[in-house]
């Protein structure tokens, strides 16, 4: 009954698989042919290659290789190389300038700085667990792209195909919901494909370790419901139009700019406050607004999946609550889509 939508979804997933496959292939080629002098150890050797520098290498009992490099000024670099399982690099000495802003955690790389009385210490670990939320950014973006492609499913039927869609032995409501169901499965599948490919890409370089904590389920639900709510919004905006491609572009722009404009409320001028309040209210209906990424002081990506609103979150509610609101929005937008569609005439 929903074969048409299944074909559309299949075509979209097929293209996605090709794109992800090409990206993975490029990553694999880069990994295979990456010159060894671009790897950490050799880079550090190169940097400290001045006169008076000497290094020593020992093999540790756990199989790791420890390289220690000393220069004439007393700066020391210790590299413990676990190969695929990552590296620990510590740079210390009087010549090491410590800047606390350098404390970051990106993916599996964490940089920590320790100021001392004479210089300081910087440690770089490349085997840190990757927060699940950070790993969901890529799949979230892929999900939103696929949601945009498949979104407006009803609008596509409105473009000369209602005579086919509405003369099947199924009600219009069931027809619409069935189409949504197919697309929802396809979007989740696309996010899963992107996630698997992302982890596989990381695995080409090092052992991927994913930080799964108590919020993991909520974070996954936030990402999935956020994307699905965006898909439902695309449908609600286009279900009474013929096609609706242009409207989807408007939805994109609105989804990005409405939360940004709500920040006008922070400006202490009345007109800005009013504008900010209006857009702040509109932002409550914007799925992307709920997906802002929050980076804590420690550098941890604390929540969210898609940094689509540049760090400004319309809701400061906890992740599970945000996921729930997104689920409600999804249902609301689906209902609006069906209500509009069933009232049309072919």
């Amino acid at each position: 009954m929903f074969y048409v939508e299944w074909l559309r979804a299949r075509n979209a997933l097929r293209i996605l698989a090709i794109v992800l496959g090409v990206l993975f292939l490029v990553t694999a080629i880069v990994r295979l042919f990456m010159p060894t002098n671009l790897e950490g150890n050799h880079y550090i050797h190169y940097e400290m290659g001045a006169s008076g520098t000497h290094s020593s290498t020992v093999h540790l009992r756990d199989g790791a290789t420890q390289t220690t490099i000393l220069d004439s000024s007393g700066d020391r670099v210790v590299i413990v190389d676990h190969g695929w399982r990552g590296k620990h690099i510590t740079v210390s000495g009087p010549g090491v300038e410590v800047d606390r802003r350098a404390n970051v955690h990106i993916g599996s790389v964490r940089v920590k700085t320790f100021p001392g009385t004479n210089g300081g210490e910087v440690s770089v670990n490349t085997d840190e667990p990757i927060p699940l939320a950070a790993l969901l950014v890529g799949p979230g973006i892929v999900g939103i792209i696929i949601a945009t492609i498949l979104g407006g499913a009803l609008g596509k039927e409105n473009r000369n195909h209602l005579e086919i869609a509405w003369t099947k032995p199924v009600s219009r409501e069931a027809m619409a919901l069935g189409m949504f169901g197919v697309d929802v499965v396809a979007i989740v599948a696309a996010m899963l494909m992107a996630f698997v490919m992302e982890v596989a890409g990381i695995a080409l370089f090092e052992l991927p370790r994913i930080e799964v904590d108590a919020t993991a389920i909520a974070v996954v639900l936030l990402a999935v419901f956020g994307v699905l709510a965006f898909y439902a919004l695309c449908n609600a905006a286009t279900s009474s139009l013929r096609g609706g491609g242009g409207m989807k572009a408007v939805v994109w722009l609105a989804a990005i700019f409405v939360p940004l404009l709500s920040a006008a409320a922070l400006v202490p001028i009345l007109i800005f406050k009013i504008v900010g309040i209006i857009f702040g209210a509109l932002a409550l209906l914007d799925p992307l607004a709920y997906l802002s990424t929050h980076v804590s002081d420690s550098g941890q990506v604390a929540s969210g999946a898609v940094p689509g609103v540049f760090g400004y979150s319309v809701l400061s509610a906890p992740i599970p609550e945000r996921a729930l609101v997104l689920l409600v929005l999804t249902v609301l937008f689906f209902a609006l889509s069906v209500l509009q569609w069933r009232r049309l005439e072919a």
Binding site: M1, Y3, V4, L7, N11, N160, H161, L162, E163, I164, W166, T167, K168, P169, V170, S171, A174, E345, A346
Partner: protein, 300 residues
């Protein structure tokens, strides 16, 4: 499937597209819906099938109102192509197979072969006629109880047009009801058992084709000069229309043509002729009398 349309009315803003239309289509018949462009044929079809909302009136299928499960046995072939351009013809067949329990994929593929269409082609790459043929193949493989066909031969070559007419006849022979519209009146005359003629949304004529043709005649008479009297004929209810052209008078007789011929003779007319009407004449007299008069003048 017996179709009863009662007082169907559909307005688009100020335009009355279908005006209080009532038609009964008996089960197993081929019913032709005729009318000039904008007469309301397509709107009637759409209102029948719930694709457009009627402002007033009802449509019943074997006494039942339309509900989604009924579409298992109802085929609608729209006038314009509604195929998905990106879809392959074979996928369209598969779509129908999945949607309709009674759909026979082998039959559809066989019909496509007859029309010379490659199932691997994308619908968007087909010509208008080929798109019609694809839709026809899918429609006639449904084993439906009711086929609503809006211009089913549009864009087809004469060979395939004849093939579609034969398919319609076969469907009716199987017991299905076929309602179709066409601008090619010859086709309607060939295939339809009953017709209805619409003009500006109104039903202007309805009946069995044979009856309409048997009843309706043109009676022609020539008078000695232009100052003649019809001897009270103009009030006769058996007369559909009287056209005068100089000394010539033509009377469209709805019934009793021979009696009317006699009365014209009594009124002084000479060269009396009773001419049979074909369906095209009937149609033109019903919806465009001016064109009909010109046509008859040339034909007589």
């Amino acid at each position: 499937m017996n179709i009863t349309i009662s007082h169907l009315t559909k307005k688009f803003a100020a335009t009355l597209a279908v005006d209080d239309l009532s038609i009964e289509v008996p089960a197993g018949t081929i019913f032709g819906l005729l009318g000039p462009n904008g007469a309301g044929k397509t709107t009637t079809f759409k209102c029948m099938l719930g694709l457009a909302r009627a402002n007033h009136g009802t449509v019943r299928f074997d006494g039942k109102t339309l509900a989604p499960p009924l579409f298992e046995g109802i085929v609608y072939l729209p006038e314009r192509s509604v195929l998905y351009d990106w879809m392959r013809v074979g996928e369209l067949v598969e779509m129908n197979r999945r949607a309709f329990k009674r759909f026979k994929a082998e039959r559809a593929l066989e019909l496509l072969k007859t029309f010379g269409i490659d199932a691997n082609k994308r619908c968007g790459s087909l010509s208008k006629g080929m798109k019609t043929a694809v839709a026809v193949a899918a429609a006639f493989a449904r084993e439906a109880d009711l086929l609503v066909l809006d211009e089913p031969t549009s864009g087809l070559d004469p060979v395939n047009q004849r093939h579609v007419l034969n398919l319609m006849v076969n469907e009716a022979a199987r017991g299905a009801t076929v309602i179709f519209s066409s601008h090619q009146i010859g086709q309607v005359e060939r295939a339809a058992e009953r017709i209805a003629i619409l003009d500006r949304g109104k039903l202007v004529l309805e009946g069995a084709v044979d009856d309409l043709k048997a009843d309706r005649k043109i009676v022609e008479a020539i008078f000695p000069d232009e100052h003649y009297s019809l001897n009270g004929l103009s009030g006769d209810k058996r007369i559909g229309r009287i056209d005068r052209s100089g000394r010539i008078v033509r009377v469209v007789a709805l019934d009793g043509a021979n009696d009317l011929a006699r009365r014209l003779e009594e009124a002084g007319g000479t060269g009396i002729r009773v001419v049979d009407l074909n369906l095209e004449d009937i149609f033109l007299y019903a919806v465009a009398p001016t064109s009909a008069r010109a046509d008859v003048v040339e034909g007589s």
